[in-house]
């Protein structure tokens, strides 16, 4: 069924996002470690360290955040959801996924504007465009929109478990309810 293909593709995409983000975290770790090493052992601090680590962090937060929409691991308040009937709950989930999807569109559109407007600014000590740091926002926005659309039409939480689901948040709570 095409639905399943979609689910498989987005699941893979979310996993790739987390792998890329994990690698960014590892790189960031070594960059900041290198900063200390440079200062004490080599006697000079690498001036690019701070800005490159910060840029990596922006990237993995936004990409990881998008993956979180697919895997449903974002923190949210489910108290109301648990009090209402099953059909109302379904409507609430559709509405809340629509809000997330709209946020994704906004990230794509106005985050894109942010990239364009700061492309001519330079990140000091790196020499790359400031917009490069912000580029994570529109990319994460596009993915967020796709993932939330999937959740509206084909909520993975309502179906059998596909791959590794987060142990907390929506899914667990559904199971308890």
């Amino acid at each position: 069924m095409s639905d399943n293909t979609l689910a498989r593709v987005t699941h893979k995409a979310a996993d790739v996002l987390l792998i890329v983000s994990g690698i960014a975290l590892l790189m960031m770790t070594f960059i900041v470690g290198w900063q200390v090493f440079g200062r004490y052992v080599l006697g000079s601090s690498p001036s690019w360290a701070e800005q490159s680590a910060l840029t990596l962090m922006i990237w993995f937060i936004f990409l990881g955040g998008a993956a979180g929409v697919r895997d449903g691991f974002h923190i949210r308040i489910i108290a109301v959801e648990n009090m209402v009937s099953k059909s109302t709950r379904k409507k609430m989930r559709i509405a809340s996924n629509a809000v997330v999807g709209f946020c994704g569109l906004a990230m794509l559109w106005w985050g894109g504007e942010l990239v364009v407007r700061t492309w001519s600014h330079v990140i000091p000590s790196l020499g790359i465009p400031r917009g490069m740091a912000y580029l994570a926002i529109p990319i994460a926005g596009a993915l967020t929109t796709i993932f939330s659309l999937e959740r509206i039409f084909d909520d993975p939480a309502e179906k059998a478990k596909i791959g590794e689901m987060s142990a907390f948040g929506v899914e667990t709570e559904e199971g308890d309810a």
């Binding site: 001036s47 701070e50 407007r117 000091p124 000590s125 400031r130």
Partner: protein
């Protein structure tokens, strides 16, 4: 929307309420209000409520803020002419800096901002920056050898410290005090009032008057809001900004004097350096690296040739 063309101009400053730059912009708002019968005014957000200087500058270029008071360094990342007044040992004295920035060279820099979505209004003072450290008085460049000196996140400052054979450590201002206490860094550099406000003197009591940088502060307006004003109102905004400059400088001078007096009384050991040219001679590669275009060279020349 078009309906609120006359809403107050939103202004940002990272320095706290009561600081000379903040008071000057408020004064400018008062002048504007008097001159337009209350149509135009300024609402000031001081103390970094709206973000760092780089942030508020970006927001101003987007038209999200109307007026922004910043140091000149954040502009370096997109307008090469703004690097010039930040060059180490360019200005011979504060009087030289003020004359240059109020005159034709300053106007050239203000005009260069227009393509970036900004209208340059005027320059304020940021004082004379000198080195302070936890170890010893700096009398000659070799006293700084190997010292870990905190700098702002700016390539220019990094090269300057390297040229002095010290170790530049870019770090946000908020981490400096702790890092001085712990010995992560040995020193930093700033003007008297900032040295006092950040309480860095508690940890680093040696203040050596190198006066290496006298880069001014700058007041900018967003071009999108500017374009919504009538020609007459634009002139009023510009003139009110200019009229706030002498007031700012009086407050600033008083502030520098009180900071110096209080710090010396608190036990800070200040010293003049033996020979300033020993420091400035080392800056040649720094200048060569950052002055590349003919426009920049012409600007440097016109500043140097001013008789002040």
């Amino acid at each position: 929307g078009a309906a609120d063309v006359n809403r107050p101009l939103l202004a940002a400053d990272i320095l706290p309420d009561g600081f000379p730059t903040v008071e000057a912009v408020k004064y400018m708002g008062k002048l504007m209000s008097e001159r337009t019968d209350g149509r135009l005014s300024i609402k000031m957000f001081a103390g970094g409520q709206l973000g760092s200087e780089r942030d508020t500058l970006e927001i101003t270029t987007f038209g999200g803020l109307d007026i922004d008071r910043i140091a000149i360094a954040p502009l370096n990342t997109f307008e090469p002419l703004t690097i010039i007044p930040a060059l180490p040992f360019l200005f011979r004295s504060t009087a030289h800096m003020r004359g240059a920035m109020d005159g034709a060279p300053g106007q050239m820099i203000l005009d260069a901002l227009q393509p970036h979505g900004l209208v340059g209004l005027c320059f304020y003072d940021s004082g004379e920056r000198s080195f302070y450290n936890t170890k010893r008085p700096i009398l000659k460049p070799s006293d700084m050898k190997g010292m870990k000196i905190r700098v702002q996140n700016s390539d220019l400052y990094v090269s300057m410290i390297k040229a002095l054979d010290a170790d530049p450590t870019p770090m946000s201002l908020g981490e400096v005090y702790q890092s001085l206490v712990q010995g992560v860094i040995d020193g930093a550099e700033n003007n008297w009032p900032s040295y006092q406000t950040g309480r860095h003197f508690e940890a680093a009591p040696y203040y050596s008057l190198t006066r290496h940088v006298m880069a001014p502060e700058i007041l900018v307006m967003s071009l999108s809001r500017w374009n919504k004003l009538s020609k007459a109102d634009q002139e009023i905004v510009k003139q009110s900004a200019r009229d706030s400059v002498p007031m700012m400088r009086d407050l600033w001078d008083a502030r520098v004097n009180s900071a110096r007096t209080e710090l010396l009384a608190a036990g800070v050991e200040a010293n003049e350096v033996e020979d300033q040219s020993a420091f400035s001679d080392l800056m040649k590669p720094v200048w060569e690296r950052y002055i590349v275009s003919d426009k920049q060279k012409a600007l440097v020349k016109s500043i140097q040739s001013m008789e002040l």
